[in-house]
């Protein structure tokens, strides 16, 4: 086979390559650099091999224990977020009006929480959830519930989860709604002709047709929830104790609080690898599911 070689294409790719180099590659390499070195005094670095990584991945060390604890909290958090937001999002998207004047206003209302920046969400909820003066927190206490998001781990987790559900279920609703709208009317009409029940319309028509958008929704929600930072930072400060200290919170504490650059660099690299590996597994599992079922 003959192939025309033309290296001029590199010229076309070059601008993007340069941008990527400065925006991604160089910062990442700096982190890699820190992760294999230790510092003595001011900017006196020396080679430290894989020691940071070994410490990090060994739960018997102090840093290893912190890391595995935070990782566990992250995994639980993302799992619960997906478990609540995906079914809730689908259910709400099914309940939205399909046509008529109500479509526009309801979509806008639903999208509103997503338009609010993270730190504003955090601040809003920090006040809203306060046990003494917050509308939400004080109301719960008046109802006789022992709620305090800065002192009680259960309250803290409940608050952080509630914030995420409130903030990001709309994304799942909108994606799922778009998927539902793409189903031609004929499918629903055929289902009526075939005397299918509402439940089997959902199982046999809607859910299979939603598969693609749901893959997207799950991936997005997983990635974002696994990177959670601002809400616990603002609302609970990672506490009480370290009950809501997620990887990102701990990472900032190690890097900027303790200026422990080697550990922090190793941790952020491992964190990053875990995120993309999990995303890859999710994506592959969900897109290959069909092919596996076939045979």
């Amino acid at each position: 086979m003959k192939k025309t070689l033309n290296n001029r294409a590199w010229l076309l790719v070059a601008p993007v390559m340069i941008v990527v180099l400065f925006s991604a590659l160089l910062p990442v390499m700096t982190v890699v650099n820190y992760s294999v070195q230790d510092a003595m005094a001011e900017n006196h670095f020396f080679w430290n091999g894989d020691a940071w990584f070994r410490d990090l991945l060994d739960p018997s060390t102090e840093i290893g224990a912190r890391f595995s604890g935070a990782l566990e909290r992250n995994l639980i958090f993302s799992f619960v977020v997906l478990l609540i937001e995906v079914p809730l999002g689908i259910a709400l998207s099914l309940a939205l009006p399909r046509r008529g004047w109500a479509v526009g206003p309801s979509l806008v209302l639903i999208a509103l929480p997503m338009l609010i920046p993270w730190n504003v969400v955090g601040t809003m909820w920090q006040i809203f959830a306060r046990a003494d003066i917050g509308l939400f927190g004080a109301a719960l206490n008046d109802l006789g519930l022992n709620y305090n998001d800065t002192q009680d781990p259960v309250s803290a987790w409940f608050t952080i989860l509630l914030i995420d559900v409130w903030h990001w279920t709309p994304l799942v609703i909108l994606l799922s709604y778009a998927g539902l709208r793409a189903i031609p009317d004929a499918f629903y009409q055929a289902a009526q002709i075939d005397a299918a029940s509402r439940w089997s319309v959902f199982l046999k028509i809607e859910l299979p047709k939603l598969q693609r958008v749901l893959v997207l929704a799950i991936l997005l929600r997983f990635m974002q929830s696994f990177m959670i930072y601002t809400e616990p930072f603002v609302v609970t400060g990672g506490g009480p104790g370290n009950a809501t200290t997620f990887l990102s919170i701990d990472l900032v504490k190690i890097a900027l609080g303790q200026v422990d650059l080697g550990s922090a660099a190793a941790m952020s690299l491992v964190y990053y690898l875990i995120t993309i590996t999990l995303c890859y597994i999710f994506f592959t599992a969900m897109t290959q599911l069909d092919l596996l079922k076939e045979e």
Binding site: A190, I193, A195, S200, I205, K293
Partner: protein, 361 residues
Amino acid sequence: MARIDLVDLAHSYGGNAADPQSYALKPISMTWRQGGAYALLGPSGCGKTTLLNLISGIVTPSRGKILFDGVDITPLSTRKRNIAQVFQFPVIYDTMTVGQNLAFPLKNRGVPKAEIDTRVAEIAKLLDLTPDLKRKATRLTADAKQKISLGRGLVRADVAAVLFDEPLTVIDPELKWQLRSKLKALHRDLDLTMIYVTHDQTEALTFADTVVVMHDGRVVQSGTPAELFDKPAHTFVGYFIGSPGMNILPAEVRGREARIDGHAIALDRSYDALPAGARIEVGVRPEFVDVTAPAPGLLSASIERIDDLGRVRFARLRIGDAKFAARVPPGFSIPGNVAGLIFDASRVHVYADSRLIEGAS
């Protein structure tokens, strides 16, 4: 299985208060025989799909009643109507196999398993789907998917009618022809009432024993293919059916004579009592007008071109400003570009305001 009666049925998508002229389906009353093969023929937007959806209950009529065997079923929902419908584009259930797709309408109605299996096997055989029964329906081609849709429409033996909404749109021309013949055969075998919506006259004329022609929300004629061809009740039918369509020319008609472009044509019947003030036209199919050399006493026309359709040739002509088509007899070649026209008087029809007028013999 049932006789279907439509009583003063009408529908407007704009609600009851809409202007009657804007109704998607203007009031009609008609009867569909048990076991008939019907085609609903008309251009896009003529109301044929609306009529179909009214019968199946997907759309609720603004007015009128639908009776199955004399029982008013207008308020019943689609699922309670015992109707099967096949849509323009394939509808299949992605997660199911071909066999499960075919069985779905029966399963939902609680038909015993053994009966489902025999019925599915039977329909699969008729549609050549047997080798694919165990396969996932998503993996098949559009043709095969539409065959599954057809199969789901035909699988229930007890339906009042099977409705087809342009079901062969997505099918390749060759397979289209096969499937149409197959449907016709199925109609004979299964003794089902079938109503077939299409805008393709060939499809309608080959499938149906009664063709219902719709135009602008109205049924303009309902009859056998031969009736539609020989005696169109409305100029629209004449024009829409046949290729080329019927020639329609403005004329003055008195007694047994029509004057077209200042020239007299003899008529078979006498038309004395034409409605006053109506727009009078004569209609004649190109098959019944022969082109010949111009001669005194013949209506003459200028030739624009000759279309050779293989078995037959048609001349495209112009009489004054009006377009006209006529048959070119075998072996005849036209000298020059003016021709004389010989009309078959028994085939010339008279229309007042587009509607056929029956002359007196």
